[in-house]
Each structure stands twice: as C-alpha cells, then as structure tokens.
Symmetry: C2
Subunit: 362 residues, 2 copies
Amino acid sequence: MQMDFRKMANCLKIAILAPITWRVPPRAYGPWERVVYNLTEGLVKMGHKVTLFASGDSETSAKLESIVKKPLGETSWPNPRAWEHLHIANVFEKANNFDIIHNHLNYLPLIYSNLTKTPVLTTLHGSAAFKETHLIFLKYKNSAFVSVSNFERSYLPELNYLSTVYNGVDFKAFPFSKKLENYLVYTGRLVKEKGILEAIRLSFKTKIPLYLAGIIQPSVEGRKFFEKEIKPHIDGKNIKFLGNLSQKKVAQVISKALAYVFLIKESKKGEACPLSIIEALACGTPVIATRNGPLPEMIQSKVNGFLVNSLKEAVDKLRQVKKLDRRKIRFLARQKFSQEKMANGYLNCYQRVIKDKGSKYD
Amino acid sequence: MQMDFRKMANCLKIAILAPITWRVPPRAYGPWERVVYNLTEGLVKMGHKVTLFASGDSETSAKLESIVKKPLGETSWPNPRAWEHLHIANVFEKANNFDIIHNHLNYLPLIYSNLTKTPVLTTLHGSAAFKETHLIFLKYKNSAFVSVSNFERSYLPELNYLSTVYNGVDFKAFPFSKKLENYLVYTGRLVKEKGILEAIRLSFKTKIPLYLAGIIQPSVEGRKFFEKEIKPHIDGKNIKFLGNLSQKKVAQVISKALAYVFLIKESKKGEACPLSIIEALACGTPVIATRNGPLPEMIQSKVNGFLVNSLKEAVDKLRQVKKLDRRKIRFLARQKFSQEKMANGYLNCYQRVIKDKGSKYD
C-alpha cells in the first residue's frame, strides 16, 4: 500500500455535509448546524481545505456548496425530504474531489456511501435515539461513526464507533461575566422532555426567577405544550420567555445567570451531548442537571454544577451554587469542549478512516 | 467512438427498477408493478439479460434482486421512504453490471443518476401530473424520459422525452369471451376523480347493473369517499362491489361486460395511459370514456368504444355499444398495446440512450 503523505500529515480535502434545516451557523436555534459551523471554522484555522455543503445563505470560511438558497426550516416547499436527497447527491457527485466526507445529516447519506470510494464518517448527533432509524443504521453498521458522548453509544451499540468527540464551542463567543444577576436559565427546544416544567417548579420553590429562551416545536403537539403548559406561567417577571435568540444573545443571558437548569426526566430522547450545557459551562455558569443520559460525562458535582436525582435535591443544591468557582468552570470546559479540541478529535478520525479505506482499495 | 455491437444488436444487460409498494406482478391492484412485470417478461422472451429490482416475493423470469422481502404496501415499517432509497441504492451500487437502468420509481432514482456512468431511462407513469414532483424532475430534465402517452407530456413538457411507449399487456391473460352478460364494469382505484359516481349514475339511468372492482384508497379521505359516497349505493344487484381482484378475476369480469366505463371528470390527476382500459380492450370489451386526458389516443369512437362529453351522451352511446365488433376491438388493441409492442418500444429507447451516453463518455 502506498501512503499519500499529504493526506496523512498535512492538508486534507474535507467535505462537511451539513443539515439544511437551518443556515450554518444557525440564526437562532439549530445545534447540529452550530456544531458543523464550529467544526468547519476549526478545521479551516488548522489549514485544511474544507468545503461546506449547506444552505446557500450560510456563512463560512470554507468553500460553500449549495443546492438550496434558503434552509428548509425557512421555506415551505413540498417534498423537503427530496431536497435533502438532492443536497446529499451533490456531495456524492463531487466525492472524488475529497479525501473524506463528514456526514452530519443522520442516516440518509449512508445510503449513498457505497457509491463512492471516498470514505464517509458519520456523526450521530443523537439520531440513533429514535428507533425508526435503527434498521437503516444497522444496514451500514460497518461504516465509520463518531458518538458525541460515550452515553450516546447505548442507543445503538452495534455500530462501528471510531471515537467519542464531544461537541465544541468557540470560547470567544461566550465571554465570562463578573456581574451576575439573580435568575436561572434554560435555552433550547421548549419541549416537555427537556424538563421545562420541572425548571419552572424549581423557580417557584426557590423564588429565583427563570428565563427561558429557544424554539417552540412547530408540531401541533409542540405548540399545544407551549400554549397550555408553559405560557400560563410566563409573567415577564418570575418566569420570562425571551424568544428564539441568536448565539450572541444566548451568551449574554447565560453568562449572567446564577445557574443553567437542565432537569430532563429520562435519557432516551436523543440527548447525546447538549450544546446548550457546553455553552453555559463555557461562560463559567454552573449547571444543575438530572443524573442521567450524557450528563454525568459533562457535569462533576461540586465542580461545575450538580447532578441531582430529584426536584428536592435540585432545590437543595441550588443553595450551594454560588460557592462554585466560575473561572474554574470555564477553564475546565475549555479543556474538554473547545472548538480546537473537537476539530483535533475529528481530524484524528479522518486520518484513521482514510487509512482504513485506503488499505481496502489499494 | 467505438461501438459495442453486443449492445447495439443483440443481448442487453438491463436493470429494471420496479416500485416496491406492491409485488411484481401485483397480487391485485398495482398498475406500475403490472407494467413492469409485462415489460420484464417481454424483454426476457426477446433474449435479453434482465435483472428485476423488486420486492423479494416477486415472481419473474428475470434475475431477481431485493432488499425487502415483502412490499411496503403489505408492511408497516416506519420510514418506508428510506427503504425505497435503500432499494434504489441497491441498483446503483451494481450499476456497472448493466448497460442500462430502467427506472419505474418516479423521480427519486434520478437523484442517483449522476453517480454512475450507466445510462438511466425513466418511465413517468403519470408521476409528473403532481406539481410537487416538478422541481425535482426539472433538475434532471436532460436525463432520458419515456411518456406512456403523448398526452402525458403536457404535464411537464420541458423534459427530454425520447418516445411514447404505450403500456402493454399479455393477451394470453385476457381471453375473448363469446358469452356476454348484462353489466357495466369499472376496475381500478375507487377514488372520486375516476368518475365512479358518474358511472353509478349511468347505471341508474340505463338500468344496466354496474360492477366495481379495485382498491379503496387507504387514506382517510379515500376511505371516507368509499364509505359515504359509494357504499350506500352497493346493493349486490344493481351496484356490485367485487373487491380488489387478481388479474385473472379482473379478466373474467371485464371480458363478459357490455362495456367498460371510465368517466373521469378532468385530466390533471395523473391519468397517463390507464392499464385497466387496455385490459378491457384486450378482452374486446368496448370502453365508454370521457373525451379528455390520454383517452382520445386510446379510444376511437364507433370502433373500440365511445368518447363522450357528458353523462347524457354516455347514456346515448351505451345503446350503440352492442353494435361494435368485439373481435376487431381485441385485434386493434393487440397491435397497439401488446407486451411485445411495448418491449420493442423500450428496447429502441435503450439503444438510443446507450448510444448517446456512449458518445458522451468515449
């Protein structure tokens, strides 16, 4: 086997296949697109030749390739799934230009993966939590996968996992704030399973206001949950709804919060490595989180927050939250969840996959 | 350009990509799958090396390739569309084994068509009648298309049409019956746009019983239409519902009917070359049909039936139907709508596409 030293040591030609539900970076909600943005910028900084396949209004330091001008989340086309396939076909038609295709678009691109010699690496982003994906993932179980937490592998242990690469953020976008204000915060999808109602109860019991920010699920069920179960509590004082905020505004809100609250009830709903928690930690904000899913990999009690088993415990631990060293929280987060750490983790995987695929074909 | 004389003159290696909604041939309803079956058998008889990509329970003289054991119409998997894509990927992964891929599965396979050098020919089967397909078809408008009637091209004139190839049937399966009985017949999908209610009215006005056979659309709307608008008329005597019949039983019913009735109201609902009409004509049964869509290409008034503009005219023409020469109807149908005629028509297209694609790559 002849080694391509450009590939192994220096500059890789990398195709990043992003979702097209939201722009890269997302204007507001859109964690997969946000991770894709952070990774792409990280790889470009390292000197790689990166092509980002994303919606046409995306902003990137990489070369941009698009077949849709606007992301599907902002359009009302019939057949959105068909457009996803056109987007996927676009990268596979150009596969020979790349050393690696990095798939961030769930299982669909796997279906195309045997139609090219270019290796494909798939980041799951929690998608294997949904049983309807399993038959498809299992057909391609020998492809190359990355989990974004060790916990994520429990959703579908049969896949060929190369590594766990935690999501990473750009720390410049999440400043440290010396001034704190008296409120708790949750940002993300405003759905029941994220423990929003528990967070509201925690706020009532501790008399510390709660600020909510994020996206109301556009499904009938999602809207109903917001209208019937959350909205009645919003009084603009004790419980505030700030809307679906940009990253900049999210950073401002979480950096001044007493604590970030993530009281999910059960772990089987796609939680894999919540970006909002990383963003909170990046600001130095402690996290009060339920002890399940990937949370024990992210939170160390008494260091960067508290893992709790009940609302009662959350109330109790919240009293100790001011004692935590917020600078240390930020420092530790930077070691584990930085853009650079993530980009290096993926680069390591790219090199392994390229080497493996090379040996199959040479 | 070097010509491959095996390809141009003799035996072609043909991949037929069938839908997987129903088995090939369908157990009952399933016109696309029925046409695929008729074509595949025709091509095998001509000596070509045919591989049929279809559900695993299909019956064929060709080689069968399947990724699903049961057709999607008989299963309740989540993600049926994903399984269609696995089925499509299966043929494209093996594309190098074929001189041509003949797509009978709507627009999705076009998305894969640039990932192989093997030429792809697409039969529309009326799919371009639905506007939500247009953006996708237009992206691949320079691919090679066959319309199943000249009328069909009006749905989307911009595509690269090579030819019109009418659907064909195996005449052995549709015997001529000397004994007639006093009833009208309609077979096919029992949906409003097929003019079922008009057929019922025609039956009432002429006092000739009407036999209905076919599939009740499984959608909420489709069931509602059947329950509320058709079922109340079914008395087992004047209006009979025979169920979703096998081809053999359909042939028995239509061959003895006074006339086949097809009173569609408007043409923009995907009518392209109704197989049920061809089956009626094959039996020698005259057709009373609305003068629109592809019907004027199929029916010649006073020869093999009557084209009508109103219910009144249908009543009037029905009186003359017994005067038509049923042997002649069958004879004419065999010239235009036979399995052999269809297979030859497609073979001609295959050779043209192979020649064109060859010149692009050589």
